[in-house]
C-alpha cells in the first residue's frame, strides 16, 4: 500500500501527460463522428503525419550544435506547421474518401477510411522509410528542468504538453460554444438536414470540422514527439484506437466528454502499467472499452439520443 501511495502521484503525472495526447486525438474523432456518424480510421495516421511534420521542422531549426531560434519559438513553429499541415491533410482526406460516400451504406465510408489509413501509413513508410525518428527534445529543453511536487517529478516538457493540450481544448470549447461557426457545427451535428434548411452551409461546416479535428491531432503528434521522443510510421494505429476508446468513454459526439475520456484513459494506462503490468496495459484498456460499451454505450457524458426510425 505504501508503495502504491508513493508511486501514485508520479503515475498521475504520467497519466495526465499521456491523457492529454489521447484527449486531443479523441476530440477529432468525436467531432467527426458527431457530424458525419463516421469512424475516421485515418485520424490516427493524421496524428502520425503531424509528428513527422514537426520532426521535419525540428530538423531544419535544430542542427547538431543547437537551436537556431529560441526554443519556445521552435516549438511554436513546429506546432503551427503540424497543425496547419494536418488540417489540410484532413480536409483532403474528407474530400477524396468520404464526400463521395455521404449517402452510401454505413460500411462503405468505414472501409474507405480503413483504406485511407493503410495508404497513409505505407506512403510514409515508402517515402520516409521505416526508421524510427527521434525528437532531440533535450537540446531544446534540458531534461532536468522541472518542478518536484512531493514524490512526483513534473518535468518542463510535460508541463508544456499538458499546458498546450489545455490551451487547445479551451480554444476549441470557446469556438464550439461561443462562435457562430461553433453553433453551426452543433446544429449540423444535431440534424444535418434541418441545419441545411436553416441556411447553414453544411459542406463548409464539415470541411472546417475536419480541419480543426485534424489540426488537433497534428498538434498532438508534435507533443507526443516532444515528450516521448520516438516517432514511426505505425504509431498512429494504437494511438488512434486509444483515442477512439477515449471518445467513446466520454460519450461520442460530446466534446467535454472526449477530453474527460482522454484523461481517464491516460490515467488508466499509467496505473495499469505501473501497478499491474506493462505487458497487459493495452489489454486492460481494451477490456475497459468493451465493458463500457456493454454497460454504458453512451459514455459518461453522452446523451441518450432517441433513435429516429
Amino acid at each position: 500500500m505504501a508503495q502504491f501511495l508513493s508511486q501514485a502521484p508520479q503515475q498521475i503525472v504520467n497519466g495526465l501527460t499521456l491523457g492529454s495526447v489521447y484527449a486531443l486525438i479523441a476530440l477529432g474523432y468525436s467531432m467527426v463522428y458527431g457530424i458525419l456518424q463516421l469512424l475516421n480510421f485515418a485520424h490516427g495516421d493524421v496524428y502520425m503525419v503531424g509528428a513527422f511534420i514537426g520532426f521535419g521542422v525540428l530538423t531544419v531549426f535544430l542542427p547538431d550544435a543547437g537551436p537556431l531560434l529560441p526554443a519556445a519559438l521552435v516549438i511554436l513553429l513546429m506546432l503551427v506547421a503540424a497543425m496547419i499541415g494536418c488540417g489540410f491533410l484532413g480536409v483532403a482526406i474528407e474530400w477524396f474518401a468520404y464526400r463521395p460516400l455521404r449517402n452510401a451504406p454505413r460500411i462503405a465510408p468505414l472501409i474507405s477510411a480503413l483504406g485511407m489509413s493503410i495508404l497513409l501509413q505505407n506512403s510514409v513508410q515508402l517515402t520516409l522509410t521505416a526508421q524510427f525518428r527521434v525528437y532531440h527534445t533535450e537540446k531544446l529543453i534540458p531534461i532536468s528542468a522541472g518542478v518536484d511536487l512531493g514524490p512526483a517529478h513534473l518535468s518542463l516538457v510535460r508541463v508544456l504538453v499538458i499546458g498546450s493540450a489545455i490551451v487547445m481544448m479551451v480554444g476549441l470549447a470557446y469556438l464550439v460554444n461561443r462562435t457562430r461557426l461553433g453553433r453551426a457545427m452543433r446544429a449540423v451535428a444535431l440534424d444535418r438536414e434541418a441545419a441545411a434548411m436553416m441556411g447553414v452551409n453544411v459542406d463548409q461546416v464539415i470541411v472546417l470540422t475536419f480541419f480543426i479535428g485534424s489540426a488537433l491531432a497534428g498538434g498532438s503528434g508534435v507533443l507526443t514527439g516532444l515528450v516521448f521522443g520516438r516517432i514511426w510510421h505505425t504509431m498512429g494505429f494504437n494511438a488512434g484506437l486509444k483515442g477512439f476508446t477515449a471518445a467513446v468513454i466520454g460519450g461520442i459526439g460530446n466534446i467535454p466528454g472526449a477530453m474527460l475520456g482522454g484523461l481517464l484513459i491516460g490515467l488508466l494506462e499509467a496505473f495499469a502499467t505501473g501497478f499491474i503490468s506493462s505487458t497487459y496495459s493495452d489489454v486492460i484498456v481494451f477490456v475497459v472499452l468493451i465493458l463500457f460499451l456493454l454497460v454504458r454505450p453512451r459514455g459518461l457524458l453522452g446523451a441518450t439520443g432517441a433513435q429516429k426510425v
Binding site: Y33, L39, I107, S112, L114, I118, L119, F286, I290
Partner: protein
Amino acid sequence: MNPPEALPEKFGTDEWVAQVDARRAGGGWIGKLGARWGALPISWRFLGLLLVGAIIPLLIHSDYVLRVIGTAWLFATLAVGLNVVVGYAGLLDLGFIAFYGLGAYTYALLSSGHFNVHLPSWLALLIVAGVGMAFGLLLGSPSLRLLGDYLAIVTLGFGLVFVQLGLNLDRLNVPWSNTPLNITGGSNGIINLDPLHFFGFSLSTVANYYYALLVWLAIVLLVIYRLNQSHFGRAWRAMREDPLAAEAMGMPTRRLKLFSFATGAAVAGVTGAIFAAWQQSVFPNNFDTNSLINLYAMVVLGGVGSLPGVSLGAGILTVVPELLRSPELSRVIFYMGLALALVFLIRPRRNGLAVLVGVVGLGLILRLAVQAVAPGLVSPPTIEVAAVSISSGFERASQSFGVLVQRWILLPKDPNTAGNLAYVLLVPALLAWARMKPSRWRTLLLVPLLYLLSFVWETRLSAEPAITRLLLIGTLLVILMIFRPQGLLGARRVEIA
C-alpha cells in the same frame, strides 16, 4: 444506356425488370459469357470449378504453386465465413481473425506436445468447431446491443486482446504452481503440431493439404449456400436491410445475429485448425491486424454478400501478391495491366489506344530532351539480364523488358529522392483525377498522370514490393468504395436512410 438485348423469355417478367436484368448483364462479349455461365444450373458450375481445382495438382507439380493455391482456398473459406457475418447479417466484425486464431490455438493445444494431448483429428476438429461456436456466441452478444460502428470497435478490440493474450500467456503466474503456466507459448508460439490424420492416413505433403483445404472449402460453400437459400438467409437479408422493420415483422433478430456469429466463428475456427496443422505451428502474429485487413480487402473486393465474389476476391488477393514478389515480373504485370486497362476500359477504344501512344511518346520526348540538355541527370539501365545458366527464358524476357522500360523512362541517378517527390505529387493527382467528371480533359490529363505513375513505379514502387502491395490494397479499398462499392461480383445495395 444500351437497349435491352434479346433475352430468354421469362414468363410473367415485367419489362422494366427485364431491362434491369439486361443492364446488369453488362455489354460486350464478357457480359455474354457471364450470362451463359450464369444460365447453367448452380450445381454444374460448382462441380465444374471443383473439378478444375482438383485437377491442378495433377498438372502442376511445383510445391510452391500448390502452396499458393492452397492458401487461396484457405482464405476463400475464411472469406466465406466472414461473408456470413458481414454480408448476410450486415454486422461489421473487425475481430473475425481472432476466431481463426482461436481455432488454430485450440487445435495446437489439443494435438501437440505442448500439453502432451494428442487427440485424434476428427475429435480435435469437432472440439474446435464447438469452441468456435461458443466464442462466436460470446462475441456476438455485444452485437445485440451495439450499432454498426460501435460493434466494429468492440470486435476490433477483441481481436487485439486476442493477439496480446497470445503473446503474453506464456508466463502466467498461477497460485497453485510455482512455475509460471505456459498456455500459448508466447511469441515463440507452439510448434511441432500433429498433422491431420484421418482413417490412418496422415496428411503430410503440400498436395495433401491442398486437397484437404479444397474439400473443406467445398463443404463450407455447400453449407453456406444452402443456409442462404433457406429461411435463415431470407431472414438475414431482411435484418441486414432494415433491422427495425425485420423485428417489427416478428423475426428473432437476436437469435439471427448470434447464429450468424456462431456460424462464421465455427467456419473460421476449423479453418484455423487446418491451417495450424498445415503450418505445423501457430504464432500470435499469424492473426494480427494486417491479416484482418487482408481478409476484409478480399471480401470487399469480391463483393460483400456474394459467395463466388468473396472466393474470387480471396483468390485474387492471394495470388497477385505472390506474383508481385519478383520486381521483374511485377513490372511486366504492371505495364501490361496498364496497357490492357487503357484499351479495355476507355470508350471509345481509339481514345484508349491514343492515350497509350501518348504516354509512350511523352516518355520518349522527355527522355530525349533531358538527355540533350542535361545528360548527367539520367542513369543508364540498372537491371541486368541474368545469364542463361541461372535463369529461365521467361525471367530473361522480363528482365529485357525491364531494360527497355528503363531506357524509355527518365531514370534519375538518385531514384530515391526523385521518386519520393514524384510519389507525393502522384497520390493527390491520382485521387483528384479520380474525382473528375468524365470529359475530354480527363482523358488528356491521363497521359501525364500515367507517365508520372510509371516514373514512381520505376523509381520506388518496384523496389519495395511489400509496401507496394499494401499501398495497392489501400488504394483499392478507397477506389472500390467510391466507384464500385458492390465489389466485383456483388449486388448494388441502396440503403434507405
